[in-house]
């Protein structure tokens, strides 16, 4: 009796392995075809719909977030296999702290578990040579979560093949305010350090003053340099699952020219077909944009 289930599971295991190999092969063929067109360099995900998914399946909330995590791992693998170097995910917004304390705690526990797991030998970090950044107001996190995040950033600092940016305790308006403050402080330090200029010629006084004034004043590049997300280029595509079409305070500065996609699928339901569809949309729009750039 005991042997029959074992035999079935062996045969079942064999079939499922064969099926996985076929799927993997088909996926690689598909990726080769897609790669013949332009590919995005940076993709950003707003992972919305975990709780609705759990409700839909009649399960408790936590299971939605766990299913969401599996979906995330699959999407990361597809992105990196396709050759997309940068992926940013909106893991936890500063706004989310206003949820019920039990939900916040359970999310933080899950985040801590998954952050620590990134350092394991078999993790996706080692598989893909991934550098990980945690972007956000990390001071708002518990000491444990912050320490784990800092450990991962340190441990992956030398990796360079692919990059994962995890926005945690993040909102874009907070990121912009921090960058503005840093720009104000560093410009005023520059002014203090430069001292007073003397000009010999009256005419060049006026021109010289303008250039000097210009240098003293904050430029776009000053704000950009001080953005936490300056470690990556701007996203080419933002995908928000669950059919909602808003940014919810995610990468506002960086997504001015990003293409936005909102598949109706809840985050745990997100799959390869949604990624392919978004990239095909990007490729269609890309050729139009290149034409426009040449005209402009």
């Amino acid at each position: 009796m005991a042997e029959v289930p074992g035999q079935i599971s062996c045969t079942g295991g064999g079939i499922s392995q064969f099926f996985e190999r076929v799927c993997g092969y088909s996926r690689r063929c598909l990726f080769r075809v897609i790669s013949m067109g332009p590919l995005p360099n940076h993709l950003a995900f707003i992972m919305d719909g975990n709780r609705r998914y759990a409700k839909k399946c009649g399960q408790e909330e936590g299971s939605g977030h766990k299913a969401g995590f599996s979906a995330l791992m699959s999407m990361l693998r597809y992105c990196y296999e396709l050759g997309i170097k940068y992926v940013t995910i909106y893991a936890f917004s500063i706004d989310n702290f206003r949820r019920k304390p039990e939900e916040v705690q359970s999310l933080m526990d899950l985040l801590l578990e998954k952050i620590k797991a990134l350092l394991e030998k078999e993790s996706i970090v080692h598989q893909y040579g991934m550098r990980v950044y945690f972007i956000g107001n990390l001071a708002l996190l518990s000491d444990q979560v912050r320490a784990a995040a800092e450990d991962v950033m340190k441990a992956t600092a030398k990796n360079s093949r692919v990059v994962l940016l995890v926005c945690i305790a993040y909102t874009s308006t907070d990121e912009i305010v921090q960058a503005v403050k840093k720009s104000c402080i560093s410009k005023s330090n520059d002014i203090d350090a430069s001292g007073i200029y003397k000009h010999d010629d009256t005419d060049s006084d006026i021109e010289g003053m303008d250039m000097e004034e210009q240098e003293k004043r904050i430029q776009l590049v000053d704000i950009e340099e001080n953005m936490q997300m300056s470690v990556a280029p701007d996203p080419d595509i933002v995908i928000r699952s669950s059919g909602e079409t808003r940014l919810s305070n995610f990468l506002l500065w960086q997504t001015g020219n990003s293409q936005l996609f909102s598949p109706a699928a809840l985050w745990p339901e997100i799959g390869l077909r949604h990624l392919v569809w978004a990239i095909l949309g990007f490729q269609r729009s890309h050729s139009y944009l290149e034409k426009k750039k040449k005209q402009v």
């Binding site: 308006t173 912009i176 720009s183 104000c184 079409t245 305070n249 500065w253 936005l260």
Partner: protein, 233 residues
């Protein structure tokens, strides 16, 4: 109902190309719709309508197109002052103003002066505007205030930042709904800070074809949205 609807008027040139016409004809056709549609929006109870008329990036377009657009804006401001007064719509133009021709600047100032006392409805025209430029000018203004001791840098927060943005001339600076016509699904550097929680709607209609029926579709769509602002409903 949304308090503030923002519109990116995209698709004039493609509309013209489809009909074998020049880009300027597309702009002319698109331009005629703008004020009409804005008034339709106000009639349904919306307080503020913002229009992305000209981006800082548009200066790179062909000179004749840029000149045409500047002349068209000037003509519309002059021609529509009486409508704005009739419908009690306050006109506010946001953007750089440094590169705008003198004559257009003059008609902007006239329109703003003639309508400054109205409080219930406002038309925000973004001319030579971009979201990044807006944030940068707010930052420069805050740096100046910090230098003069009016504020401390450590005290700068989101509320203070918002008061420095060009939309500070409005009671509802952040749009509830942003419509971008022509099917392109991007914000193109329009309101960046202000769109943090804005519902984004991308109808596949070119701007000169955008009519009242399309606008009603957008409003119906908006009313079905479930806005949570990060919390749970």
């Amino acid at each position: 109902m949304p308090n503030h609807v923002a519109i990116i008027l995209d698709g004039n040139r493609r509309w013209a190309k489809k009909r074998g016409l020049g880009a300027l004809d597309g702009h002319e056709s698109g331009g005629r719709r703008v004020i009409e549609l804005a008034m339709d929006f106000f009639a349904t109870g919306i307080n503020i309508v913002s229009l992305f008329a000209f981006s800082t990036e548009n200066w790179g377009r062909p000179e004749d197109e840029v000149n045409y657009l500047m002349a068209m804006f000037e003509k519309n401001f002059k021609a529509e002052i009486s409508s704005f007064q009739r419908y009690k719509v306050k006109i506010s133009v946001i953007g750089s103003r440094v590169n705008i021709p003198e004559s257009l600047l003059h008609s902007i100032q006239e329109a703003e002066e003639a309508t400054k006392s109205y409080t219930e409805r406002q038309l925000l025209m973004a001319i030579d505007y971009s979201g990044r430029f807006d944030i940068l000018q707010a930052c420069k203004s805050l740096a100046e205030k910090a230098k003069n001791g009016v504020i401390q840098v450590e005290d700068i927060n989101e509320k203070i930042m918002e008061k420095e943005l060009m939309t500070n001339c409005s009671e509802f600076p952040n749009p509830d709904l942003l419509i971008r016509t022509s099917g392109e699904q991007r914000i193109s550097n329009f309101f960046l800070w202000q769109s943090a929680y804005t519902e984004l709607y991308f109808p596949n209609v070119l701007w000169p074809d955008y009519d009242k029926a399309e606008y009603m579709k957008a409003l119906t769509w908006y009313q079905q949205r479930n806005r949570r602002f990060g919390r749970r409903v």
